[in-house]
Amino acid sequence: MRKLDWALGAVLALMVVGASACGSSSSSKSTASNLPQKVGAGEGALNLIAWEGYAQPEWVKPFEKSSGCVVHAKYAGSSDEMVTLMRQSGSQYDMVSASGDASLRLIDGGDVAAMNVALVPEWKNFIPQLQSPVHNTVNGVHYGISLQWGPNTLLYNTKSVTPAPTSWAEIYGSKYKGLVSVPNNPIQIADAALYLSKTEPSLGISDPYELTEKQLDAAVELLKKQRPLIKKYWSLASDEIELFKSGDAVIGAAWPYQYSTLIADHVPVQQIIPSEGATGWADTWMLSAHAKHPNCAYKWVNWVSSPKVQAEQAISYGETPVNTKACPIMETISKGSCETYHANAPAAYFDSIKFWKTPVQACGNGQSDCEDYTTWQQKWTEVTG
């Protein structure tokens, strides 16, 4: 009798669990094709997928107070991770701070919705190159609002690395064997390609993201030669910060965020853009196609596009704001920061950075023999495996 009770009780429990699980399944409505014409009341919450350093309490807390939208940020370490998160659980997030090598994949996959730039008045003050860039604007339709941009830099420990480096060659040569760290990200192949475009011009690499099979193989060869020099490939920015702090790495490829954080913790580091140039990223806040809190999302975008928050974020992370009005505010927060973070740099600086974009087969030269990103991912596994 007792066993029967047990069995029945358990079956009931299962049914309850099952029913509650079924009850929470999301019904994904497709977003309306006509854009919202005004920003309504906040929904009380905002779920973001962001790069580390993009949702600091410094500007999140005032936002939460003024809008009533409580912010939950999920940090991702790479564009691939952001794309996958959006594809697998897109309905659980409202916005993603996608870089140029993720944005088109998200647009193609239908994971992000069009945004109405009229609802973001500060958009008019953005630098013209990032108001409607190809990586977030398709056929005149805006799929996000540009945020900030910056370079991938060479970071080194000033005490352990002497003389001060000037070239990427320092991380491809054996001088600092076992003390190097570079990102664990297939897009890193472009960095190797950029280096080769200057050191081996016979390969004919003009765009480090448009590589033929021969050019890709050369870049992969260089990376395979680099592998014995690497202590660890970093997946999250905080990994690299940890490596530099503990002395396990003294030189590597990094973002300005690592530099700012290490300096704040009194670790003697310096960052440079080496003579061969640098790859970089231009980020966009994109709205999820299944966003549950679109009004909070628009409020957030307006908040982070304002000159004050643009300045705060630029200085905190070490990147360049898109809002031209941010520069004077940056000077009041930290003198000389406008110059340091290139907020008032000429267009030539912008053009010198090779921004992340998704490698596709259609090469810019009119041909279609370039390798696509899937091949890049496979090659990267070969390098790091």
Partner: protein, 305 residues
């Protein structure tokens, strides 16, 4: 209701309750089935269905640009696994590490179990049992992180070595570090079955062996070891399988060239969004464990679990 219970055996009213109870009493297998219905439903509907779906998807592929699953049958995932030497390297590295961890843990567990069961007095023995389990109460991540702190360049190990005058050992973020950490983390899982096995070795066997003239090591080799082998194999199922699929330890304490099967699988699910490929590669540890479990069953490990 005493009258009805006394009258039960003598033609009491056959209410539904009494009928079901009688049916269950006469058919023990029915009771078993009812007991099993809930866990059975859980396993078959959730776990087994998920596994079948997963390995079916190994035969599908993913569209590179949109990331959507294409339900057309193809062997391209397996072809890629076989074609690229890097996956063989990763698989062999993982299996090798799993084997090394298993051997290390067995070598550590047996003497410990011996002391705790046969030498230590009862009180100490119970205390040791609890002591082995306490690390399992603390978080896995926290313990792995502790090793990262110990083995890093400016960590405790190198400080200790420099005090002794020996140079720094750069084993942080290497495969050696992973071997140490894996052996450490899974040790309690090996100790428990070995402990039970040692407990079950009868004193009379050992005395008989001594009577027949065998000394310490000979007794161990010919009498004790075969008796505790099923326990060791049972423990090894855990150490082998847990190492085979792990991806957290390589991420935390592994360096360049420490990628394991778990990392590839995890990256393909969580980063590259290529679940079919991840499933294809996951078939490798599945096959390895399948063979291992068959061998383990032969060696009697399932009774020793």
């Amino acid at each position: 209701m005493t009258s009805s219970s006394i009258a039960a055996g003598a033609g009491a009213p056959r209410t539904a309750r009494v009928r079901v109870s009688a049916a269950l009493f006469r058919r023990p297998w029915l009771r078993a089935v009812l007991l099993l219905s809930a866990p059975g439903a859980w396993f078959v509907l959730i776990y087994l269905a998920a596994l079948v779906l997963l390995f079916l998807s190994a035969l599908w592929k993913v569209d590179p640009l949109s990331g959507k699953l294409i339900h057309s049958w193809t062997l391209q995932n397996f072809e890629q696994l076989v074609k690229e030497p890097v996956y063989r390297t990763i698989a062999l590295r993982t299996i090798g590490l799993a084997a090394a961890t298993t051997v290390t843990d067995a070598a550590l567990a047996v003497p410990f179990a011996f002391f705790a069961v046969r030498v230590a007095p009862k009180r100490l023995s119970s205390a040791l049992f609890v002591a082995v389990l306490i690390p399992l109460w603390s978080s896995y991540l926290v313990r792995v992180f502790a090793w990262r702190l110990i083995l890093s360049d400016k960590g405790i190990l190198n400080w200790f070595l420099s005090q002794l005058g020996i140079g720094a050992a750069h084993i942080g973020y290497t495969n050696w570090a992973m071997w140490i950490v894996f052996s450490y983390i899974w040790l309690p899982f090996m100790i428990l079955p070995v402990w039970s096995a040692v407990e079950r070795v009868p004193d009379s066997m050992i005395e008989a062996s001594a009577d027949l003239g065998a000394r310490g090591f000979r007794t161990f080799r010919s009498v004790i070891f075969p008796l505790i082998l099923p326990g060791i194999v049972a423990g090894s199922i855990f150490t082998f399988s847990l190492t085979l699929g792990d991806f957290i330890t390589p991420t935390l304490v592994g360096g360049a060239g420490s990628t394991m099967i778990g990392n590839i699988v995890y990256n393909n699910v969580g980063v590259a969004n290529n679940v079919p490929f991840a499933a294809a590669f996951a078939a490798v540890p599945l096959a390895v464990m399948g063979i291992y479990l068959l061998l383990a069953k032969r060696l009697g490990a399932f009774e020793a679990l």
